[in-house]
């Protein structure tokens, strides 16, 4: 819009841009931004995650205007949002289901990165910033789940904060510090509310760094090879804005289906019972997006080791760029990893199933095997496959692969 012909508005834009290059920045990073011409729909999930972050903050800010962070009032204030506040039900269901959608998108986004080697040189920091965002999301989601102050909220807070009691010697002191008391109580709720408002904006900041890192070397692509010339890329706008918008429309159908037709499908009925510090619900499970980690925690009979393993399951992602020994990014050209990479999401689904079921009989054994595989995938398979497999030859350039060999030659000089 800024560059459209002469006129008063463009003079004003130029005046501003000379002093604060905002429009030029947008122009450069969102319009002209050269993007690989071969991105598939797997590349939609980054922008979808960004949009979900905005949706969560927008609904969250309005919900915060109606919510009361006090142990005696929180539950009723959420019920008031559901019954009395205009469209409160819609805002809350958008927020609660939005958390699930956000995780779904981010997990797909991460799998895309693992499959196409998006974490490899020179995008290691881009990947690591993504893991930081995931950790912040997990903290924010857990803390947010506590705020309605239902039974699941209360006991989730109790269980998760008690994880820190596994730390030798100072564990109990740390837990008391987290609680601000002898149990989860009003001080806990107050600080959780404060943090739940803070952390999303920390996520926004890290997403900003994530984007700076992304735009430094540009997006990876399904072929996993670098840009070699202008024939390899197309401007972000309109090609990828329209592709992202189409993907967004499809995603919104799924999101809206949950919000309007199954708003409580992903949550637990017990959370509509006010928090009671004297009674634990019969069957405690976390939200679906935490089930695999929960399964890992339960698979280990030792308290400290279970906690360590659970945190390691996320932290191990930080070192994936150095665990992978293959020089080839995209699994398209890696005959073994192409198949093995799918075992990780399958394993995660199995772990999720294990986490959702009571730990008796075969569930425990399956959980232990799946936990073993999860770590073996990263620590054994990924390094080993990189050394053993013989990658297929890479195309000369993105243009060559997409347009045929003539364009590839034209771009190779």
């Amino acid at each position: 819009m800024a560059a459209s012909g002469p006129g008063a508005s463009s003079r004003i834009v130029r005046w501003i841009d000379y002093r604060l290059p905002f429009v030029g920045f947008i122009q450069h990073e969102l319009y002209e931004y050269p993007t690989p011409r071969n991105l598939t729909y797997w590349w939609n999930f980054g922008s979808l995650a960004g949009i979900m972050l905005v949706v969560m903050i927008a609904t969250g800010i309005v919900l915060a205007m109606h919510y009361t962070p006090h142990a005696d009032l929180a539950f009723d204030s959420v019920e008031r949002i559901m019954r009395d506040v205009n469209y409160g039900w819609l805002l809350r269901y958008l927020h609660a289901n939005g958390a699930s959608m956000f995780f779904l998108i981010v997990y797909i986004h991460m799998f895309r990165g693992l499959y196409y080697g998006s974490y490899k040189y020179p995008r290691e920091l881009l990947w690591m910033l993504g893991v930081v965002i995931l950790l912040l999301m997990m903290a924010t989601a857990f803390i947010g789940y506590v705020l309605p102050w239902g039974q699941m909220s209360y006991w989730a807070a109790t269980v998760i904060t008690n994880l820190f009691s596994a730390i030798p010697v100072i564990g109990d002191k740390i837990v008391a510090l987290l609680w601000g008391g002898f149990t989860v109580g009003n001080p806990t709720l107050n600080r959780f509310y404060s943090l739940h408002y803070l952390l999303p904006f920390v996520i926004v900041a890290v997403v900003g760094l994530h984007l700076v890192a992304l735009h430094t070397h540009g997006s990876n692509n399904p072929l996993g090879i670098d840009h070699k010339g202008p024939q390899d890329s197309i401007p972000f706008h309109p090609y990828y804005t329209i592709k992202d918008m189409f993907g967004l429309a499809v995603f919104l159908i799924v999101y809206a289906a949950f919000v309007f037709y199954a708003p409580n499908y992903l949550s637990h009925p017990d959370n509509y019972i006010p928090a009671n510090s004297m009674v634990t619900p019969n069957h405690i499970v976390p939200e679906w997006y935490f089930l695999p980690y929960y399964a890992i925690l339960r698979s280990v009979p030792d308290k400290l080791l279970g906690v360590i393993l659970m945190f390691s399951a996320v932290l191990i992602l930080f070192i994936v760029p150095w665990l992978d020994t293959s020089p080839v990014r995209s699994a398209r050209f890696r005959p073994i990893y192409k198949w093995v990479s799918w075992l990780l999401p399958i394993d995660a689904v199995i772990l999720g199933w294990v986490g959702a079921n009571p730990p008796v009989g075969n569930v425990v054994l399956i959980g232990q095997l799946a936990t073993f595989y999860y770590f073996a995938h990263f620590l054994v398979l990924i390094p080993l496959i990189g050394k053993l497999e013989r990658p297929r030859p890479l195309p000369l350039s993105i243009g060559a692969a997409v347009l045929g060999s003539s364009a590839g030659r034209a771009g190779s000089h």
Partner: protein
């Protein structure tokens, strides 16, 4: 958005441009409707909620109020002054030269017919929202025996009409009705 898209229309396509214009206009219109209907729940949620609206009426039993006594009740979070006026106060209110007032209003227009004894007004100064003095015994009622706003010195008479000071209008008479001879419902 329209100008960006248009600049990409290559010349020479006879009806391509009108087709593109049509698509852009309909897409933009649909987008605007979508954006507006998305934003509306956010804005509407800030309006008074249903439980707030449910507190919109207040019923008051008048039997305990003696002649010359003033009572304050809460209505929608605001004080409402109920004044059982003495014959002298009613007379003073009725004899005022209405044309000399900033907000000309007869006393009979500010009370229910046949109920001149009862003055019901919203106790919020029409200047900047302070609560005028005069409800408690010993309060400064101002020069005209009505109410006196301590914030900026507005003076109201025994009909709650602005007589002096910066207030632009008389104290508001809320909508109310007598449900019996000794009870009213405000709102």
């Amino acid at each position: 958005m329209a100008d960006v898209a248009q600049s990409q229309v290559s010349p020479g396509h006879g009806d391509g441009e009108s087709r593109r214009d049509f698509l852009i206009l309909t897409a933009a219109a649909l987008g605007a409707v979508g954006a507006a209907s998305t934003i509306w729940p956010f804005i509407d949620s800030l309006n008074p909620a249903r439980d707030t609206l449910a507190l919109a009426t207040t019923e008051v039993d008048l039997t305990p109020i003696a002649s010359g006594q003033r009572l304050t009740v809460a209505w929608r979070g605001k004080p409402v002054f109920i004044d059982r006026r003495t014959p002298a106060e009613i007379k003073a209110a009725q004899e005022v030269d209405v044309s000399a007032l900033r907000d000309p209003q007869k006393d009979s227009d500010r009370v229910k017919p046949g109920k001149a004894e009862w003055l019901v007004i919203v106790g919020v100064c029409t200047h900047l929202g302070c609560i005028p003095l005069g409800q408690k015994t010993g309060d400064d009622r101002g020069e005209f025996g009505g109410w006196f706003c301590p914030c900026h010195g507005s003076v109201y008479d025994t009909s709650g009409r602005r007589r002096e000071g910066p207030a632009p209008t008389n104290l508001e008479v809320p909508p109310y009705e007598f449900t019996s001879d000794t009870a009213i419902k405000i709102g």
